[in-house]
Amino acid sequence: MTESWRPPTRLLRVATLALSLWGVLVLAPCGEAAASRAAVERVQPRVVKIYGAGGLRGLEAYQSGVLVSAEGHILTTWSYVLDTEAVTVILDDGRKFEADLLGADPVLEIAVLKIDAEDLSFFDLAAAVEGDTGMRVLAFSNLYGVATGDERVSVQRGVVAAVTTLAGRQGAFVTPYRGRVYVVDAITNNPGATGGALTDIRGQLLGILGKELRDRRSQAWLNYAVPIAELREAVSDIRAGKFRRRDPAKERLARNPLDLTAFGIVFVPNVVDSTPAYVDAVRPDSSAATSGLQPDDLVLFVGGVLIRSLRDLREQAKLIEQPAEISLIVRRGEELKTVMLQSTDAEAEVGEPREGEQP
């Protein structure tokens, strides 16, 4: 469904594209297309085609973007395509511009470009709407770079399959952005589509199409857009010249990572990759002992975060500051029990805000 497996070959990709275009054509006289026609008319002039670096094996040298001001500010995805002196933007009427990169936010994976133009149709980010599950949506992008010159970008349709956060699917996706996304049940996140617009059926902007993202476990693709609400502030900062540069990896690491052994828990040896977090022993007189934790308890949640294995716990612990008190949910027999652990370790205080952290 929403995470979609795509046939890996070029041929099939093109075939899929041809079919989706055909679908749009065939459906032109249908009720819904009529309903969306006004939306399409409204949105298409506001979506642009962007050309830049790339063109090597498997890397497309193009993507999509949306106009966010009458004087030529363009919101798009931060990617290798923009990693060049010469970024070209082509409007829906075929006008071609050299664009300047005003700034980028590598964590949100967005960039703002500026072209020298006036009186353009644009999306007012302040007026962007919120989507919810089941909402019918339209996606506008230059997927596969199929539109050139004055050809307008392609339109796809679907529904919002879910509103979720990428962080919620820990480990499954490799992406610096971990915030809220609209998952779409159509195959929108194709090569070249990133930076395109996701709108409701009235053509009101909901979000910006993300990159191609594949679930490492299931090999399924995730089609998603980042809600405008997540981007608004960053865009205005970049436009105001407040350059943002953050190191995505560093930002998430805790200064003083969680260490459950400090509470008196001894886990079973980590023999296989997926060894679940079974308690092997509880140190006498420790907080774990006082809380009633027992050997053979299976730790399932630490501070509300699901723990699938000892390795998972080790990874998660790096992101959690050592707290003075933490709640665990364990499985004992067929039941789940909640236990609270208090740190006896004076060092284990919550640290000051991390470097680069948002207030």
Binding site: M1, T2, E3, S4, W5, R6, P8, T9, R10, L11, L19, S20, W22, G23, V24, V26, L27, C30, G31, E32, A33, A35, S36, G58, T133, G134, M135, R136, Q156, R157, G158, V159, A161, A162, V163, T164, G168, R169, D185, I187, I201, R217, S218, Q219, A220, W221, V271, V272, S274, P276, L298, L300, F301, L306, R308, S309, I329, R331, E334, E335
Partner: protein
Amino acid sequence: MTLTLLRRATLRGRRAWLVTLVALIIACSVGIAGCVGQVEAAPPEDLAEREQQAIRAALEKVAPSVLQVQTIGGSATGNTGLGQQTSSAVAISPDGFLVSSEFNFAQKPSAILVTLGDGTNLSARLVATDRNRGIVLLKIDLPSEVAPLSVAEIAPRDELRVGAWALAVGRIYEAKQPNVSVGIISALDRVWGKAVQTDAKVSPSNYGGPLVDIRGRVIGILAPLSPHADMGMSGTDWYDSGIGFAVPMADILAVVPRLRKGQDLHGGLLGISIEGRDLYSVPPKIAAVHPRGPADEAGLLADDLIVAVNGKSVENRAQLQHVVSPLYAGDEVTLAVMRDKKRVERSLQLAEELIPYAHPFIGILPVRDGHEDAAGAGVRYVYPDSPAAQAGLASGDRITEFQGTELTDVAALRQALRRYIPGEVVDLSFQRDGATKSAEITLAALPEDVPDDLPLVERPAGPVGKRPRTGAFDLKLPEFENECVVYVPKNYHPQMSHGVVIWLTAPGKFDKEALLNRWKEVCARRQLILLAPQPRDKERWAADELDFVRRTYDEVAKDYRIDASRVVAHGHEGGAAMAYLVAFSQRDVVRGVAAVQSPIPAVVRPPATDPARPLAIYVAISKQHEYASRVTDQIKALRKMKYPVTEVRFPEKPRYLLDSELAGLVQWIDGLDRL
């Protein structure tokens, strides 16, 4: 009211747009929904809004009975991209019975956690599995403070219509919020009558969730199914290709009473083989009756023509399968057959499994690439202590008759042997120094020990002629991103058939130079071609890459003389898991699988042995390997299934084969054309 209106519109629109719909179902997952309401006079904007409302209303209605499931631990080896840790289930009773897809539990998790819509976590247990339909029954015990579960309303089967709305629902992203994909019912009674087909997006991420109609009633449970299923994993290769399946709820509820007792259910077997592979054009005539299987015990015979099953007449294999496939082991079936122009009826009970077929062994290696002027099968080696050795056969002899029938060549002997099992006594005639001798031998089972003195094959005299490309080169198939290295020995001889070693690299560890160093000399000595397809993602093999692996083999088989008896899938660690997948899924070509340091992936079920398509297994595992004990269990199970398993154990840490051990593997490969 809105809902009723929409439904009517849907049905009327369906008639008007029938042709378009059929085309769209097949070709286009984009944009169906917009068409169905076209005949309604309502302004289009209203229609779109109302469709959206209807989708939301359906979602809202079914949502309380859809729950999030988390699995913790279990034995997935992780390299084959299978099994989801977060999935969905559907409540079928207020006191905590849930159904989901077997796919999410194949790795036998240590813990199963169900999260209710309000965020309450409860521990769940797996009660039983329906392996025929790929469904599991789960149970959670509800504490007194938790309200009874909301049970989904079921869409009556006779109300399901092709073209009607279908929503694939789950809770894979958020426990508190359901997710949805919108499509239509594409077909009913698919996969031998076991599934409803939809074009809503179905993938490993939402197996286990419900497919619901526009009224929010459950049509079925999303599951990976395939009409070609012969291994546990089949069906997943179709995810999100505009085709997905749901097992109808009515079929599930019918077996829930049996599942509640903790009884696993299996598909049922008749224990017959039917000639040919074509499903439709050939009448279902019994080619062979499996010894001591249900058909055998009911008195059915080879050459009986099946004309009806359970009173329903059948004219081909597809129709037969349509009746039998939905049934379970233990179910009664009545077969009507034509025998000598008379109709005979027999009732039998379908079996869960058949007594496995073991391939017989005479004890020789035949002369390869036989000379045209001599009929029969030349003997180039006699296994010590084998039936052939006991009967006095020696290398240089030529077997000319088997059970009174003259043999044209080695293939004829190979084919004749398929009708026999170890323990049976057969007659052979053979020629030695111009004289004909005969021998009576008791067939043995295939050997698992590897002799270390297999003789090299003599090279044909005379000029080699034109050779196709030799040495190491890259094989690029335009439709795949993957890369593949081929090594053909420099001394390749077009008159000598070569075995093929398909090397499946451990993910992330492909080292071309080391690989070639290891195999170059071996390939030249033992007439082998090395094929090293690589995964698209250097870090892991994906199940959908089986196709690529197969294609590389086909490509090589086109240009070189291949010894069909010596095609081996060989891998290390994750590559070995992939080697098992390759061997079990490409049975028409692969005759051996050599797995170093890996168990069979948990979700893969080895298929039954097949008289016509033998498969030998070579396992090398370190005693310190984390899965050593599982491998031991798997070897036991494979032997029980009558696969010949050659076992190599190391005392030290997991590693690849040393040179001396590799030599043993090469001898094993070299002996795969044994008879």
